[in-house]
Symmetry: C2
Subunit: 205 residues, 2 copies
């Protein structure tokens, strides 16, 4: 039992290290050697738990699905309208993608590897966003006549846009937010809040 | 002169091949050998024009800036309001990112390499979007009270969101557009059009 607990701790610490490396370097540049060093385990221990880099990526993506799933359940539990739940879900996701290396790594890996073969292609948060938009249309809190599919796509573009923006802190030229003289450079949640203030009136009935 | 023309043709065909490889494989996986094969040139000819992969990436990004710059000038030339120019610019960009490998490669490289050191950090289309939003605010075609910085960011998120969506045709789970039963899967310009129909009323005065 003690051995099993130790093995689980090692596995968890390998996955955390892998998430850090995938998040900062991307899948292709990430090496097993680097991940082993970050996790402070031997190559033997690393390959005992994960034989290949693809296995590690799949492990990190599985954990990312768990943490994003938890964040969505928390926001979804709030007893409000589906539109307000949608706003809450995007705030939870944005906070997660700004602060949680596993969730960030999951997003980066999904972009770089796609659904791939063998790698589970699930992207639960996009599906949840689409589901909440449909609920909002059914319960009548989505503005009548609004194109629900376009609303769902728009919201996922915004969440991803804010997430990508947190990856280039040093590139003012690429960021209209920073191009304004004297403008706040804006944390991820602040950016999201300002976007919602802009678009919510067009989406909510 | 004939020699110089031939050299320029070779250089152009190397850059086109590099764009194709960077666009489909990303920077890290792209190899000089593969690019040489795609361009049907010898390694000697390839390295005569571009010594390193970083040089090739910089060459492709330079060309991408040119083609996106042209697209923006075309859309910007239409004698309409700044808001309508903005819509036209996003349509030109989306069409370009859906069809032009150089422009697509430029976007992918910008995401993967960031502004880097030595690589020109310019991202003219985002700057142009920000400029047009400011013009719209000045001429009064932007809805009064709209947060111009947020508008610029929102528009760049949408253009990038549509571009990224064209990169995962095989992943319905990740795409709310495809999750709807019977919904159009939507070309990039159609997606953009549906998003604009949703948000333009909130942005235009």
């Amino acid at each position: 039992m003690a051995i099993q607990q130790r093995a689980e701790r090692t596995r968890a610490s390998i996955l955390r290290a892998a998430a850090r490396v995938f998040d900062s370097q991307g899948y292709e540049r990430a090496s097993l050697a680097r991940i082993g060093r970050e996790a402070e385990v031997t190559t033997g221990a690393l390959t005992f738990h994960f034989e290949t880099k693809a296995d590690l990526a799949e492990g990190v993506r599985g954990q990312a699905r768990e943490v994003t799933g938890q964040a969505i359940r928390i926001a979804d539990g709030a007893g409000e309208s589906a539109v307000r739940k949608l706003v809450a879900v995007t705030h939870e996701l944005t906070l997660l993608f700004a602060t949680d290396e596993v969730a960030r790594a999951g997003e980066r890996l999904a972009r770089e590897l796609g659904s791939g073969e063998g790698i589970a292609s699930e992207c639960p948060w996009r599906r949840e966003v689409a589901r909440l938009v449909r609920s909002a249309a059914e319960e009548g809190t989505l503005r009548s006549g609004a194109d629900a599919t376009a609303v769902a796509a728009l919201i996922t573009y915004v969440v991803t846009g804010v997430e990508l923006a947190t990856r280039r802190p040093g590139t003012p030229a690429g960021e209209p937010w920073l191009g304004e003289t004297g403008a706040l450079d804006g944390s991820a949640p602040e950016r999201l809040e300002r976007i919602w203030r802009l678009i919510l009136p067009a989406l909510e009935s």
